[in-house]
Subunit: 403 residues, 2 copies
């Protein structure tokens, strides 16, 4: 069977195991290595309070070559002061020591509870074990994807294969959800590997664009986490002409960028469907807006509105809640031209309700994925985002079990 994990591209090894951060006994330490060294790019949360891991990673990603990524789950290492920062530095140093590289060539990410110090001895022991287990097998890739999970119910991975200049290129990604997710520059933890040969600036450009149209369009509960990080490593071992796309107009670059965008879109949809308590997802399209920013704001207001999310959970075509969210979003609109569609069904047009088959509409809303379309009736701009329903499962996960 084909390897569809992050070890699929040439040059990558991975490992994942339980080192003792999570009381549940589930995997909580993940290691990714590229012994030959990779070009790297990353995007980070714009939350003003950031994890020690993010602070360290932002520095290290500037290195010309990255050889490893170390990730722990179960503890965010955020709001942990100087001791937390020292622990993040130590995680990189320990990883560097085991793989015999410089600590600046190690990237790092953490996810989990905020405000508690890392059990650093457990983690350094874990790094030692993980380094010894590093493998290019698909099992190792899956272990990595499992070890980055928190409240996710399943690992989320995606892969795309394409040819560039006759060389076979692979792009693979693993992502973790599932709460504290909202669009802005980066979302949650996302690790992408590829064997394409590409310049560092173009790799960064392709990542930013792909995340911007995928993970950044997803909102689960309206707030960006303190730890959001998306990292891409390119080993350059695919054998394509060393520098695809010196310029971004190059068709070879575009093919790579499109494939990367597909990987990220795939991951974003998997995240929406595995969001905390989610039973279904939806896409919001807002058109007829005065500006792109207005369209984005309206999309987000709809997708984040608890009453809309509950209606989707109940398969209820209660479109009035959608219009209420749009009206209070602070965007320009014409109440007399306002329109709304649930899937293909027009329920509201020119500010007047349309008669529609409620059973049919309920079926649309009850699908695994449907599209809500709103026309603001004032301009030509549009935008979209992804959301998911709000269920009792979300409350169970976030209220019933204590930290």
């Amino acid at each position: 069977m084909a390897n569809n994990t992050i070890t699929a591209p040439k040059g990558f090894l991975a490992a994942g195991l339980h080192c003792g951060v999570k009381k549940s006994g589930k995997s909580d330490l993940a290691l990714l290595a590229c012994p030959a060294g990779a070009k790297a790019a990353a995007v980070f949360t714009t939350n003003k309070v950031v994890s020690a891991a993010v602070q360290v990673c932002k520095k290290h990603v500037k290195s010309a070559s990255i050889s490893a990524v170390v990730v722990n789950s179960g503890n965010a290492n955020t709001c942990t002061g100087k001791r937390g920062l020292a622990n993040a530095v130590k995680m990189c140093a320990e990883t560097a020591k085991r793989i015999e590289i410089d600590p600046h060539n190690v990237l790092i990410a953490s996810t989990g509870i905020i405000g508690e110090q890392l059990p650093i001895k457990k983690i350094t022991s874990g790094i030692l074990k993980a380094a010894a287990k590093l493998s290019a097998s698909s099992k190792a890739g899956l272990d990595f994807a499992k070890a980055i999970m928190t409240t996710d119910t399943r690992p989320k991975q995606a892969v795309r294969r394409l040819e560039i200049s006759g060389a076979k290129v692979t792009i693979a990604g693993a992502v973790k959800g599932a709460g504290m997710i909202a669009p802005n520059m980066a979302t949650t933890l996302c690790f992408i590997t590829t064997d394409v040969a590409i310049t560092k600036p173009l790799l960064a450009k392709a990542l930013k664009s792909a995340i911007g149209n995928s993970l950044n369009r997803l909102t689960v509960d309206g707030h960006q986490s303190t730890n959001d990080t998306a990292i891409i490593l390119a080993s350059g071992l695919a054998g394509n002409a060393e520098r695809i796309g010196i310029v971004s107009q190059c068709p070879r670059y575009k093919r790579f960028a499109n494939a990367l965008a597909e990987v990220c879109d795939d991951l974003a949809r998997q995240m929406a469907l595995d969001a905390e308590g989610a039973t279904r997802m939806f896409k919001v399209v807002v058109k007829g807006a005065a500006t792109k920013a207005d369209a984005a704001k309206a999309c987000r207001a709809i997708a984040d509105y608890p009453l809309v999310k509950c209606a989707v959970n109940g398969g209820d075509p209660n479109w009035g809640r959608i219009i209420c969210a749009v009206g209070s979003a602070g965007v320009k609109l014409n109440p007399n031209k306002l329109a709304c569609k649930l899937g293909p069904i027009t329920v509201f047009k020119n500010g007047t309700p349309r008669k529609f088959d409620k059973k049919k509409a309920s079926k649309v809303v009850s699908q695994t994925e449907h599209t809500i379309t709103v026309d603001l009736g004032v301009g030509m701009a549009s935008d979209f985002c992804y959301g998911c329903d709000l269920s009792k499962g979300y409350i169970t996960i976030n209220a019933d079990y204590h930290t």
Copy 2:
């Protein structure tokens, strides 16, 4: 027993009954009358999509004298186009006819499902019956408070009595919750009666200030409804010197304004505790902010964050979620001076977690009301707001039952 309903101030009659809008058979039509005529002031939703009732009420409230307020629950008369507007006008005309006044002297409010036309015949029949039932009894006041309810589990009323220049003045209010609530200019439907003699501009000033520090500080699910209306009627029959406070610095005006603020604060707390599915409420205080606007923004980000609301529901002192919300609120803050308290317990200070008794903190969070305090560490400005927990009950109300 003292009358503590909106018929307590001199000069007011009320009625409430079931006219057939709600399938449940619960009361859905409320009428308030002031035969001698009252000075009136109101604040309305700033949602860009507004009910036909709001459109009509905004015009009528400019009248020098108001003699009646008609309210229906179970149908918002919003997104209903020209027919909806004609129905709102008809509701006022029908009320005016029954009380023998001019339609412009009638105020109107609606609440309920958005996007469906009013069953206007049922409502006009209801108005006829309600007009015949008008009474100054406390039962009639309670009937009114019940008839404005939607998903509220109990009527919410408040009363304050004070002396102004030797005259006994009464202020009474009734409010309905319980979803689609967020602070901005006005919140939900709120009706206040008083017998004070006061000028129209000062009445408006006192209402705006009282609502601004009470109902406008409450957020249940982050979006302002399309129908929010707060109305105050002053009959002037208390017998105080006809014009208390020609100027707002007048101490008699201040005493009235403070008592009105108390009524509104009382109603806001009742609303928080009777919000959809709510089991407890909390107050958020943000201080050390660069500006008042930043403080308000941070308050709202915390109170609206589903993860914070779930933590409160679970009695979980998971303060990291509070800091995450603040960090992503887009306000100026100093991560190294950031601090957080749950009730009296400091859990985070100078960007570093404090050791604290988790059982004690859990007890604080499990109270009917507790205060979350955050210091942004950059300035002197502060603000506050009220929020409530997010429970499975909210999902039951908003997802399990179809519209």
